[in-house]
Amino acid sequence: MRNLIAFFRRFRIFLFFALLQGIALTTYFNYLAYPRSQYLTTASAVSGQLLEYHNDIVKHFQLAYNNRKLQYENALLRKRLANSFIRVDNNTVLVNDTLNDQQYEYIPAVVINSTVNKRNNYFTLNSGWKKGIKRGMGVISANGIVGIIHNVSEHFSVVRSVLTENINIDVIVASNGIPGILKWNGMNAKIGSIASISNDLPIKKWSKIITSGGSGLFPRGLTVGKIKEYKMVEGKPLWDVSIYYSEDYRKIQNVYVIKNLLLKEQKKMESTIPSDIEDDIK
């Protein structure tokens, strides 16, 4: 017993160090995998508020670029308004549209904090569950996809951006529908990569990459980027494809969170697949 106490006295500094180090590393690796509360992230009220002040100053730096982008998007949307069409045929009667059901809704939000130079980059948005944002929703901007909601508090939310290692969004090559999974290699914020495209499938440089809409997070057909180059993976029958993102994540500010109104239905249908068959598919 005395030896034990002597041991603790002798190594008390190191033990204290190991204890604190243990706390830090466990929180780090736990939060990376799955966030249990929002207190340690930028979604918490205090850091969220501080970042809001910060954004009030910094948002003006990219104002011209963002305004131009919004203006362009407005022009595009205005074109689709009912009053910018001319009635060609006067005989039809306008009926309440039952052919199209609304599937996706868009919640606007502003990125108040973002990084692009870490291995895994998270963006903070100034909207939380009060505006209907939930964990696991997709986030897009005018030019491309941004990420998936990782953690939500009352007024803020944290997005796991496409600049994280295992973002795993399902994408397809637009021209021929070859599916792949989006990843990021951590080197450059402009360049992403696509895994699991078998190398007997023909792909072309500069072909457009779009979302596949399979997981229900993003509508089908949102632009992700363009193929920059593709190489063989050594020892595997796969292409190593790298793409230019269509969005410049260093300047991103205005984003939309996607609410899929039919997600529950889709998940319910998919849960009826027997699990052993699903394993075979994987």
Binding site: F17, Q21, I23, Y31, L40, T41, T42, N113, N117, R119
Partner: protein, 171 residues
Amino acid sequence: MIEIIKHSVRFVLFLLAQAFIFNQLEIGLGIQLMVYPLFIFLLPLEINIFASMIVSFLLGFGIDMLSNTYGLHASSALILAYGRPYLVKLFEPRDGFDPGVELTVYTMGYAWFSYVFGIFLLAHTTWFFLIEQFKWSEFWYVLLKTVLGVPLSLGVCILIQFLFLKKPSKR
């Protein structure tokens, strides 16, 4: 008493500067500027090591909360606080430190400061990127980021002292 107030003010300033200015800078090549090691380095030499570890841990966690790194900075800051007494003892001048001295560029000279603080930063940055990447396959990329980042951070930390510390009058 005045020392405690001075270091508390510094704590807040370094926390905000690191989270809102230096973590937001995009230099490219994955370089990240680290200035908060300077705060830990400038803590009084006589401080209890438990106190310095707790202070560094809190500083690191504060930065983590503001930049979504969940404990990465806390872990690296803790390494610094733990290693500092040993490092400083290793590079103690022949006739010891003056009592109550602060380890700045002015009091210790350029050569000593760059050398010792350089080692300090190197340990910090290596640990930080190793934990962040956590893959041996990306070791060379970690090395590149460290080798490019440390001299830059060192330069910025020396510059900060030029700008914000008063030159002590010659005795």
